[in-house]
Amino acid sequence: MTLTDAPRDVRAATLTAIESALAQFDRAADHLDLSPDSRAILRVPKREWTVNFPVRMDDGRTEVFTGYRVQHNMARGPAKGGIRFHPATDLDEVRALAMWMTWKCALVDVPFGGAKGGVTVDPRLLSAGELQHVTRRFATELQGVIGPEIDIPAPDVGTNAQTMAWIMDTLSMHAGYTVPGVVTGKPVGLGGSEGRADATGLGVTFTAQRALAEAGIDLAGASVAVQGFGNVGEAAARLIHERGGRLVAITDVGGGVANPVGLDPARLKAFLSETGTIAGAPGTDPIDNAGLLSLDVDLLVLAALEGQVTARNADAVRARVIAEGANGPVTPDADPILAERGVITVPDILCNAGGVIVSYFEWVQNLQSFAWPAEQVADRLRQVIFAAYDRVSAVRDEQAVDARLAAHAIAVGRVADAQRIRGIYP
């Protein structure tokens, strides 16, 4: 995944990620009327690690980096969640992301708990060798913490298939044999799953298509704006374009491009690989994040970072449907403003769950030493994510609540139920 996300200094978050995650949990717990015991268990991470580790840099200096791994809950299975390399990553952010992973895995009913990890570093400032050293040393610090039956990392912001290959190789060297199931999102040649690279974007496309249909809009011909052109945003833009959606604006870390007639994501990707940004691509007009968020479009895909639509700017949003490709891009204080204006939001733990669903498929394939063809992966992804969409819609309609509360109530209820059945040891 590339670092083509909105930079933190343009964020206008009124709530931090952990505040948003806890507010969403409390709302679901209130709706379910969870017991104080269940709330106390689920409100905090089960385990968390902070590691400070030295790395020899290319110029001979020794630099100390800080990394984190948080396992929020493992009642339903081994923990699962990505590792991000980002200069603004801190423990509270990782805690929030780990909690969201717990709910996401429960909502789509894969047998995983939730985890997340990160290193506070800007990978763009490191050489390839330095990046490998940071990755391998961080993986070593996590020895015993991660593993196929314990906690399975995956790519996230600032990390990619190569990063996962280094982690897998490092832990395999320590084990003395190859352990492919220790991470997902690996290159296909090392036991990665076909379709994993596009999985999150494909899930965003599937769920956005369903939400548009609920609004009486066909994706073919729909106007679409996409915030973020990294792994998720690029794939979503490309897959939406392939299905006839008209991409009218896209932003990335370096700026944004607009064209009311439609943008070609393949050309933008080629321009990005040459220049490092899509801004200034030929045949486009410039647009910034604020301009993109306020466009009158059928579908707005938020595929950058958390805290992009808040109570401060929700009034400006004019999209009919918001698809949350990123985690927590709409803060809880913005939700009622959007709902009042009739905006349909596909909540993040449903919308961007395609990645963890195919990660689950990859883990299963690794444990079985078997590989599924791409068509089978895509077909199973569609089945799982549509089933989750149907469950959220059913609870939303039966209980007359918004989709985010329905999704969180299902997920929190499932985890609380698993926790209740397992009981408290000893």
Binding site: L32, D33, L34, S35, P36, S38, R391, A394, V395, E398, Q399, A400, A409, I410, G413, R414, A416, D417, R420
Partner: protein, 87 residues
């Protein structure tokens, strides 16, 4: 320990609240009884062998526990119980 016996009687503030839903599994319609106490809910369904039972602060988790022997999952339990009215 001490214990005493009191008989419930109709009052403006009953000590518990009873609700009933129906669930049809494999063509058999069964009542799901939900009893609300001050600190939580008791749910029960009759099966061919025994009545099931689920107890929790949450009506959804109580219903889920009572319905689990019938193969009903959390989401179906939530949809079945539906909105809970505070009385």
């Amino acid at each position: 320990m001490t214990a005493s016996l009191e008989f419930d009687a109709p009052s403006a503030a009953p000590a518990f609240q009873v609700e009933r839903r129906f669930v049809t599994v494999l063509g058999v319609r069964r009542p799901l009884r939900l009893v609300r106490f001050a600190t939580g809910w008791l749910a029960s369904v009759d099966t061919a062998s025994d009545p099931t039972i689920g107890v929790d602060r949450s009506p959804y988790l109580a219903a889920r526990a009572a319905l689990e022997p019938l193969g009903i999952d959390m989401v179906e339990a939530m949809a079945l119980v539906g909105p809970i009215n505070d009385r």
